[in-house]
């Protein structure tokens, strides 16, 4: 379903993704793991047509995201790592816009929105503006929205960041459900190794833009001779802490926070 060969992305002299190759089969749940700044999000952006690769090839369902942008976009759904909701619209309107953009028939869209908002416990507050939501609620809405249409491939970029255990549990059982019932291929990233161990069929570990290991969770544990995935991960990527430098978006957000904080 996803085939990546010798993929490279450089920004100036910095190579974020350095010659990685992997495949994800149809109906598989693939976890893409790596420390901060390892190149996970850059890879997802290339897979989802938001960035053009420097070199190498990508095939999603046999199509090249560079040349068949719209065709590819019809095939996937994505939950981004950072927020992508419209704060001025209500939860319901955010779902509505998404439904229209993804050509979900109106009736189906309404029914599914209701079901999903109830599942993620946002139904009672569907008519409130999203900017009034807490971080966890926004996250849940973002996830609910990602499930509104039924894609062939679902990208989840650190979907559980900032979620409580209840919502996390809800999310993963839903992911498993759509994976089993509708054969949706799932490509996810997370920092919680136990989650990856629990849901993923196969795992790829990326560090400094290079794919350092891939295989089933068991194979990776065996390969590193460790008892759990967390230890295997540390064995593969070392224990130094990585820092991502704040980009302009983060700076902007901080600025906006300062402002809205001052107004209240």
């Amino acid at each position: 379903m996803i085939r990546v060969q010798n993929l490279v992305k450089s920004f100036g002299s910095f190579t974020a993704v350095n010659d990685i190759s992997f495949e994800v089969a149809e109906g598989e749940i693939f976890a893409f793991l790596g420390p901060n700044g390892a190149g996970k999000t850059t890879t997802i952006k290339m897979l989802t047509t938001l960035l053009h690769p420097t070199s190498g090839s990508i095939r999603l369902d046999g199509l090249d995201p560079r040349t068949h942008q719209n065709e590819v976009r019809k095939r996937f759904g994505i939950v981004f790592q950072d927020p992508s909701l419209d704060g001025d619209l209500t939860a319901w309107e955010n779902m509505e816009v998404h439904g229209v953009l993804y050509h979900v028939p109106r009736k189906v869209g309404r029914a599914r929105s209701e079901e999903l908002l109830k599942l993620f416990e946002l139904w009672d507050r569907r008519n409130e503006q999203v900017k009034k939501f807490s971080g966890g609620m926004k996250r849940r809405l973002e996830i609910a929205r990602g499930f509104l249409h039924t894609p062939k491939i679902l990208f989840l970029d650190e979907p559980t960041l900032g979620l409580d255990p209840q919502s996390r549990n809800q999310l993963w059982s839903h992911v498993k459900r759509v994976n089993e019932a509708e054969r949706v291929t799932v490509f996810l990233t997370t920092h919680y190794m136990d989650e990856a161990d629990r849901v993923a069929h196969r795992i790829g570990v990326i560090d400094h833009g290079k794919l350092v290991a891939q295989g089933t969770p068991q194979a990776i544990k065996d390969q590193t001779g460790t008892a759990n995935l967390e230890d295997a991960f540390l064995a593969l990527t070392g224990s130094t802490i990585r820092d991502e430098s704040a980009n302009s978006t983060d700076q902007m957000r901080q600025f906006a926070k300062m402002w809205s904080g001052g107004r209240r």
């Binding site: 976009r73 996937f76 001025d88 309107e93 816009v97």
Partner: protein
């Protein structure tokens, strides 16, 4: 089609919901209209140009539409920072439709703002030759709004963050405003200034409004219409192209 509609609707909803912004954005035109309108009135009258309030009315309406439409285009930067842009960019909808939806939405909001200021002008004592002139003036407002909403999208697609915003404001938006003849007649100007004002698309929009509302103009109204149509089409194409090239 439905994608264009929903994005247009979104711009309108955002506008209606930011009431404080609506009020704030009316402050500046009112300052120009009332303070300059009455303050420069006597001098203008003595120079034999008639009522300055009458003269500056279309200028202030044009300014409102300019600011509002160009900022709606730059709102793209805001959406980029807060992520909603990504949601639209990965959707299976052509970028052209997204761009058109946004531009039409921004232009609609700008025209609404222009109408509010028109109402304020009438309250302040502005009068037209005939009332039929008003729909024609609205036509010019729509043209100005489309031209600058498209310019806003073209710029918004090319900038990475809000840092460039001040630059655009000081070196593009303000000059467009001041050089448009919104505040002074375009006739009998020094050669260089006269030349520069003719390069400014807003000059033709405001001149067009003046010619229909007041029956006084520096250019032929047909020229006004054709320049706005030509510049508008070019900017829409450029805006759509720049928008299609956005990478996040």
């Amino acid at each position: 089609m439905s994608a264009i509609y929903i994005l247009w609707l979104r711009e309108l909803k955002r506008y209606v919901r930011s009431r404080s912004q609506v009020v704030a954005s009316l402050g500046q035109p009112m300052l120009y209209l009332l303070v300059l309108g009455f303050g420069l009135g006597p001098v203008f009258q003595r120079a034999g140009n008639g009522s300055y309030l009458q003269f500056v009315g279309p200028g202030v309406i044009g300014m409102t539409v300019l600011f509002s439409s160009i900022f709606s285009g730059l709102g793209l930067l805001w959406d980029r920072q807060f992520g909603f842009l990504k949601e639209t960019l990965v959707a299976p909808v052509s970028r052209l439709q997204i761009m058109i939806g946004r531009t039409l939405g921004g232009a609609t909001v700008a025209v609404i703002q222009g109408l509010l200021v028109t109402a304020i002008c009438f309250l302040a004592g502005f009068r037209t030759q005939h009332l039929v002139a008003v729909p024609m003036a609205i036509g010019f407002m729509v043209a100005i709004a489309l031209v600058f909403a498209a310019l806003g999208v073209a710029i918004g697609s090319s900038l990475q963050d809000m840092q460039g915003f001040q630059l655009i404001m000081n070196f593009l938006v303000m000059p467009i405003y001041f050089l448009s003849g919104a505040l002074f007649p375009l006739t009998g100007l020094p050669k260089l200034l006269a030349f520069v004002t003719r390069l400014d698309p807003l000059s033709y929009g405001i001149d067009g409004m003046r010619s229909v509302l007041l029956g006084r103009s520096a250019f032929n109204p047909l020229i006004d219409v054709s320049v706005l149509a030509a510049v508008g089409s070019v900017l829409l194409v450029v805006g759509a192209y720049r928008f299609s090239k956005i990478e996040i």
